[in-house]
Symmetry: C2
Subunit: 363 residues, 2 copies
Amino acid sequence: MSTIDEIGIIGGGQLGFMLAQASLYLGIRSHFLDPNQHSPAGLVAEGIYKPFDDINALRELAQTSKALTYEFENINYQALQELGVEAHPSPTLLHKSQDRLAEKELCNELGFETAGFLPINNSGDLEQAANKLGFPFLVKTCRLGYDGKGQFWINSAEDFMKLQPKPGVYIAEAKVPFDRELSIAAVRGKNKEVRSYPLSQNWHSEGILRESCPFQMVEEESELVQTLQTQAEAIAKAFLEAFDYIGVLSIEFFLHNGKLLINELAPRVHNSYHWTMSGSETSQFENHMRAIAGLPLGSSKLSKPVRLFNCIGKMPAPRDCLAIEGLHYYSYHKEPRAGRKMGHLILSEPSEESIESVRKLLL
Amino acid sequence: MSTIDEIGIIGGGQLGFMLAQASLYLGIRSHFLDPNQHSPAGLVAEGIYKPFDDINALRELAQTSKALTYEFENINYQALQELGVEAHPSPTLLHKSQDRLAEKELCNELGFETAGFLPINNSGDLEQAANKLGFPFLVKTCRLGYDGKGQFWINSAEDFMKLQPKPGVYIAEAKVPFDRELSIAAVRGKNKEVRSYPLSQNWHSEGILRESCPFQMVEEESELVQTLQTQAEAIAKAFLEAFDYIGVLSIEFFLHNGKLLINELAPRVHNSYHWTMSGSETSQFENHMRAIAGLPLGSSKLSKPVRLFNCIGKMPAPRDCLAIEGLHYYSYHKEPRAGRKMGHLILSEPSEESIESVRKLLL
């Protein structure tokens, strides 16, 4: 098994950009597929600017690469297996993760808890959901939702009227009155080694991640931190091993009455772990690419206290940001647009005061 | 004074590559000039592939950029001042540093000690050098030497015969029986702020830097470390302020009987500070580009113990390197050639054992 030094990435957005960027120094050259001529990844990798569903474009990417990976879930998982080069992470898990219902069923099959859920195939199912889950509950599209898109609350029987259930399109989910939102990222190499990052605590607003930091920085009870870390690592490991998974796997949880409920799987690097770029010896991006390339993994330990802030819609001026001691600036070189993830900031050794200063810049 | 987001770099070698790479996340786009079509900087920046002494190529670079910088000293310092955009670091200091004699005279003028030296304009000067400096002494070309090139030892009167002194070409330098080779890198921003990195101790072989690490990691006497740090910072600051310098300045020293003698100035980032990529919150590359761009500087403190190893002539296999816990791999994507700097390795939290493991890979 030789080291892979040419990797093809499906998607040239910020995740593809950071994957390609992080692996350059490893001697790895990346290629990517993205219809957008202004893809951030184009700054550091060779682009093929064609639609994601263009099978010939996928073949072209495969031909320039010795292995493939991807930065988002909405891709043709079947084609991925027929391109003649290895594709990671597991197309099988990718397939499951493309459908919220299949994903939740998988979690339960492996013995892990999720929020209560029900498939919504007809109006009768909606009534059943109301009875089983209680108002308010959440209805989500099974496919293609992200950053809060494709989901809405059902607060009363009247809200039913707005919905036209079709088989396989919607899933109902119980509202979890969670105490915290947590996530874990774990990476598995071709030598079957698994390394897990410390749990991250995440804060969303309008369905979009706003801030994240290592859970151990915000939870004072270190025994709870250790217990949940051990549980989350075991959950991640179960998925990694069940699918002979190579690369980073991210799992979002609700913490509810001291229990971890799985909210969502992402077979890729994850926004809630961007702080590893400053807070860990090996970022999630570098470790993902090391895994795909067949290289040994690097340390996933927390190297210093950090806090991540997403920049949504626009980037604050670099001069204002860098005037805050310990603040690091990551621009994705994207055209500003409302609701768009434009970049992020990572604050080292955050204090209440410096956190407030950063938040003011993001208003 | 607005933030500069397009920077032109003269030279697309590994230093240009790492400068462009380090500033991408700051939202800065780099352009570079280099005749070599396979310049490492081409991986992350737009190249103009023309000779360095082509004044029209320099103009083209200036037109695509809002400020210029450079990665090596052998460039036309006069042209740099006539291109219509700001050029940093100081072309005046660059000019001095291009000539070993002018550089040493400048050091003495500012009140700092160097090894004894004499200009060699004729055979009589060689005799005088022998009398004043004693055998053996070193003869160097005043211009264009690097990595030990263009210098040789005069061990006896017979060695004189090999040399044909011409005015302004050679300088004689006393042999300094140094205890250690140290260097400092300091950076000055447009707001006149100065930040200094911790002193680095350096080990050369055959005129080429092989290893470096923060001096405080190898010197047990912390008072000596602090005293020399203070002295080196004062020396750097004197140059930075005398030339209204913007960017990173590097100074190599001999430590001789507890005194710092200046060996060489480099008006740029320096190989002996590549360990800042893993060992400091802000690498020398990012701080240099922040300075040129008019951004606030970042912390230059040591964040963890590290050791730098240069890879000369060839890169060891990434798989072997990354199997050593805490070792980070930096390839410059260059074609292997004897004596060429191909990349470097940075070891976190080095132990005697892990240092030996790395050295074995580099044999």
